[in-house]
């Protein structure tokens, strides 16, 4: 069966945070954000530090709740999903890559990717096979049994990419994935990310303030004064 092309749709999404612990006027972060993302397409969200780029990603992925507006992921209203359905959606249809690779410390590279597949419901054997395949794709076949602290920053990020893609998700949320890497490693990770996203027909929401990196996406949005607009 063909998967629906529309992956993520945001309509009039607003988000604010309380000003202080004692209350006061809330700080508005997003206001009436509307955007959509189809399969095999990529968007980049750029903006100054503190402009709300990461908040937009977190709201889109259901990690933060929006104050108002509609967020649909593969046709499902994310705010209406309960813990079970949201967990299932995260494990099977979403992939996450953050600035810090966020690997499980005591686990090897292979296990980090394998666990993600097992959470999605694959058997231990199948998960291991898929993890091995993904780690080969990102060039980490020689580092399978290395734990997080035995890998370099670039290698950890490649494992994180393998983990994000192992369950063949519809959408990858990437929040400054090259932010903590040197130029050489950043370029390597960028290339890897875009080639795998294109090859696997996955949608990509990229948060970055690195403009050349952002421009590799199909559409670049600028988040400014709580509003998202297409960057010319």
């Amino acid at each position: 069966m063909m998967k629906s092309t529309e992956v993520l749709t945001l309509e009039q999404v607003s988000k604010s945070f309380p000003a202080t612990l004692r209350g006061g006027e809330p700080i508005q972060i997003l206001e009436g954000v509307t955007l959509s993302l189809n399969r095999s397409t990529s968007i980049a969200i750029t903006g100054r530090s503190g402009s709300g780029k990461s908040t937009l990603l977190q709201v889109s992925a259901g990690l933060l709740s929006a104050d108002s507006g509609s967020i649909r992921f593969e046709g499902k209203e994310i705010p209406k999903l309960d813990d079970e359905h949201l967990s299932r959606l995260r494990s099977r249809s979403m992939g996450f890559i953050f600035q810090s690779s966020l690997l499980l410390d005591d686990f090897t590279a292979l296990e980090n990717v394998q666990i993600s597949a097992m959470i999605a419901g694959f058997s231990e054997k199948e998960a291991s096979r898929k993890a091995l395949e993904m780690l080969e794709l990102v060039g980490m076949q020689d580092r399978l049994s290395h734990t997080s602290d035995q890998l370099s920053g670039g290698e950890r990020q490649r494992v994180a990419i393998a983990r994000a893609l192992v369950n063949e998700p519809s959408l990858i949320f990437a929040d400054e994935p090259t932010g903590s890497l040197d130029e050489r490693n950043a370029a390597l990770v960028e290339d890897l990310l875009f080639s795998l996203v294109a090859e696997r027909e996955v949608a990509l929401m990229l948060i970055t303030h690195n403009l050349p990196f952002a421009k590799r996406c199909n559409t670049v949005y600028q988040l400014h004064n709580r509003i998202v607009e297409v960057r010319s």
Binding site: Q58, R88, R90, Q99, D105, S116, R163
Partner: protein, 390 residues
Amino acid sequence: MKQALLRLLVLRKLGYKGSRAAKKRILFNLILITLVVSALVFAQVFVVSMSRGIADKYALLGNGHLQIHEGSMLAVPEKEGVLDIQLVAQSYALIYSPEGNKMVRLKGVEAEYFNDLRTSQITLQEGIPKESTTLEQVLLSTTLARELQVGIGDRVALMLVGESGIRPQFCVVGNLYDSGYQELDANLAFCDYDLIHRLFKGSEETYYELLVEPERIESLKQDYKVEGYTVTSWDEENFTIATNLNTSRQAVLGVMVAVAMLCGYFISELSRELVEDDKHQIAMLTLLGARHSLVRSVYFYTVMMVTVLSILGGTLLGILMSSNLSPILSMVADRSIPSLSYYLLEFNVVYPLGDILFIVLVLLLVSVLSVQFSLRRVKRIEPLSCTHFD
């Protein structure tokens, strides 16, 4: 599929292929709980064995398991489970020595009274031959002899209260016994069955003492009752002591259960500590789509594995320590430490499996409940919080 994931995560939490710190933490808790459980098991075995030992002394030397109060009027039929029947006469007398006096319970018994069952409960010294004196002989305990400052071959006087007033009966200390329980020994003296009759002239109490298989005390008592005999059991004859022993046993069991409950609560601290240290990993797993129930199960099974292993190890260690209790206690008893004089220090070790099982079940139940309660905190860890550790 989830089982395989659960197994992988639990094994890692237990320290398998884990970091040295993780292994040390699990090992520390494993040892700590094992030691607490072994102490609980050991204490329970000790208390129950000692109270059973005391009960045995009272039953075998004091009154027999059962007493039939028809005296010598009726012959008592033997039944299956009855090990020994002895006709006994008893009364109370003041015993005097040049150095002291004491009111004692004087039991008149036949020569066969001290059969293997009873002699197994006492230590008898080398007494004087019966024909070596014309005076009547009494068997005193070493405790009583120490109080009266007499030894084997010394003279004592029994002060008998009769219609014609108080008159003394001189006797010689024929031998000394020691049951190991001074509380009983201090008030119990033996003499010939005939002597009691001659001295007390019918004011003594005569009854049959029956030794029976302990598990058949109640059924045999009923059988004799049905046949018209007036039967009492040792605990009815020594009501205060039996009640005290029972109450002490229950009180100690209560204390053990309370300690087990505290230990169960301590176990929940382990789960709290694990969750607190693993917040980042938990957030990471939930971000990857793991449900809170799976994460809770990981920590629940990890802690319960530690608990079950500790309980098994602790129970075995407690039993092992108890099985070596007798030689240590004999050594302590030989030193005659005054503060331990009212404790029975030589007894057969019995394993109260019911009590041990009860303590273990309480510990398990409290652990399960407190760990489940403590793991509610897993739900409060948001997937997003893993990014806060950047």
